[in-house]
């Protein structure tokens, strides 16, 4: 992929000189309870090889040079694996490029003269901290409720002591690809966190290591999710917005497991 992108960017550098002039409408808000609004910034001479976050860096440098307060935005690894970057770009979570985080969205995907609107990820459970930064710690509450397995400590077990079926390992790995960025909640018209929670559940519930706490985990994580988020209506926006292409199938798996958990947890506690 990167090789192919390198080729196209070289080709476009030859034809266009590799720079863009853009206009950005960026959401600015001084604090959680302050009213926010869009500010317009001109961004001339933007290299096509920059990522979207580097574009914001450039705007911030210019703001600092002019003595203004820079725009706050979340970012960390800038390699598309940490889940820290966010942003609604032109009405889409992580921008219009599918299966891509904002930090991996390159300016060559835009055209000269574009007006780009940037808003934070929004949901009641994602309060704005400042500008484009939102507090996504409600996801941590869901993980705390059951996103772990319990293992005995002590000497290291033998290799392959626990056989894991190949299919289960593969599907579990697909679910574990979730980086917890919150694009699913941001894209969801209902602000539901079904895709995140179902991915976190599936990556443990599918494999043998996750079985002892499967039903307890399912009930606890779903019910914690429901303290914060809306109700899924199966639009399918989440999976399209997801930079890791987590499948809607995991949501069905969670729904099935949740009703099963309601029954099984009674039996496990001897209430059959």
């Amino acid at each position: 992929m990167s090789g192919a992108n390198g080729v196209t960017s070289q080709a476009s550098q030859q034809s266009h000189g590799g720079t863009l002039s853009l206009t950005l409408r960026i959401w600015r808000q001084d604090g959680p309870d302050a009213p926010g609004r869009f500010h317009t910034f001109d961004a001339p001479n933007i290299s096509e090889d920059m990522s979207f976050l580097e574009l914001l860096d450039i705007i911030n440098e210019r703001l600092i040079e002019g003595g203004d307060v820079p725009i706050e935005f979340d970012h960390d690894c800038r390699e598309g694996i940490c889940g820290m970057c966010s942003l609604m770009i032109n009405g889409r979570a992580h921008g219009h490029e599918l299966a891509t985080t904002t930090c991996q969205l390159h300016m060559r995907k835009f055209t000269d003269g574009d007006v780009i609107t940037v808003e934070p990820f929004r949901a009641k459970a994602f309060p704005v901290v400042r500008d484009l930064v939102v507090d996504r710690s409600s996801f941590d509450r869901i993980i705390e409720a059951g996103g772990y397995i319990s293992v005995n400590t002590g000497a290291v077990g033998d290799a392959n002591q626990t056989p894991v079926p190949k299919q289960a390992a593969d599907t579990s790995m697909d679910a574990a690809a979730c980086i917890g960025c919150g694009a699913c909640v941001a894209a969801c018209p209902n602000s539901a966190a079904q895709l995140f929670t179902s991915a976190k559940l599936a990556h443990l519930n599918l494999i043998p290591q996750g079985q002892p706490q499967r039903w307890e985990r399912t009930e606890a994580m779903v019910e914690t999710m429901e303290q914060f988020f809306g109700s899924c209506t199966n639009h399918g926006e989440c999976t399209e917005a997801c930079p890791k292409e987590i499948s809607l199938d995991f949501i069905a798996f969670m729904n099935r497991d949740y009703v099963k958990a309601k029954i099984k947890n009674r039996k496990l506690t001897g209430q059959s």
């Binding site: 926010g36 808003e119 309060p127 602000s191 019910e223 809306g230 949740y258």
Partner: protein, 279 residues
């Protein structure tokens, strides 16, 4: 910097946890469980819509066949049960499914509204200040909360029209469905209401049929493609079947010109009964 205030705001639950009711009522207390119930009631209501549509095709066989179909519904259960008992049990079941489907839809919609509203910007009736660019959400999925109430109001209208005969007045003959349907649908405003409501119903079914598989967790990657096809097929069948009644009556292809029996609730019904027995 004192970040604790905002961090606490992020962790504070948006919804309060209710005291759990005994099993199985606690399933309905959760949003996923409620959606599960919504799917099951949706299946029941969809089953009714399809059977109702197929049954109504007897209209095309003439007044006496339509009369026979209506009588058969009242006689369900044969000689084993009192007349109309089974029909009433089905009606009560249908009403219960309707009420539960409506309640779950309304409360879940409210939950989603509360989870999205005032999401960080003043005047936030909608979720984002800028325009959204939807990828997967289609017209049907985004209008469920409008097509649902339209169908609900239409059901009331439909009952008042053909079951209770409120505005057909003297033209309404209890026990002669063929006559009532033709009489009602030959009015242009009524025909328009039927067309609009049934388009809404088909749009509702188009998303609902697909959605119920997800809500129930019926998912198999090998057959997932068929779910959309089934939804399209069912919506199409219901649309064509239900629209055929107002359209064909308006076109004059279904009328009472060649009717053998008189239209009244005494000799007319007797005549229809005899014709039905002769079949």
């Amino acid at each position: 910097m004192a970040p604790t205030a905002t961090q606490a705001a992020g962790s504070a639950p948006v919804f309060k946890t209710k005291r759990p009711l005994p099993f199985p009522l606690n399933i309905y207390q959760s949003a996923i469980g409620r959606k599960w119930v919504m799917a099951w009631t949706g299946i029941g209501l969809l089953g009714f819509v399809i059977v109702h549509m197929i049954g109504n095709l007897h209209l095309y066989e003439g007044p006496s066949r339509m009369y026979e179909y209506a009588e058969t519904l009242r006689d369900l259960g044969g000689g084993l049960l009192p007349r109309t008992l089974l029909l009433w049990i089905m009606r009560v079941g249908l009403l219960a499914m309707f009420v539960v489907h409506l309640h779950s839809a309304y409360t879940l919609k409210e939950r989603s509204r509360l989870a999205s509203e005032r999401a960080g910007f003043v005047g936030g009736a909608k979720k984002y200040a800028s325009k959204r660019d939807y990828i997967a959400a289609n017209y049907a999925s985004r209008t469920m909360r409008w097509t649902g109430p339209i169908v609900g109001l239409y059901v009331l209208f439909h009952l008042a029209d053909l079951t209770w005969g409120w505005w057909l007045g003297d033209a309404y003959v209890r026990g002669d469905p063929y006559h009532n349907v033709v009489e009602s649908l030959s009015s242009i405003p009524v025909a328009i209401i039927y067309v609009v409501a049934n388009v809404a119903l088909a749009v509702h079914i188009f998303h609902g049929t697909w959605s119920m598989f997800q809500s129930l967790g019926v998912n198999n990657p090998r057959y997932n493609g068929l779910r959309r096809n089934l939804a399209t097929a069912l919506a199409g069948v219901v649309l064509v079947g239900n629209l055929s009644f107002p359209v064909l009556v308006q076109a004059g292809l279904v009328d009472e010109d060649n009717r053998d029996c008189p239209v009244n609730d005494t000799t007319g019904l007797e005549c229809l009964g005899k014709a039905a027995e002769a079949h």
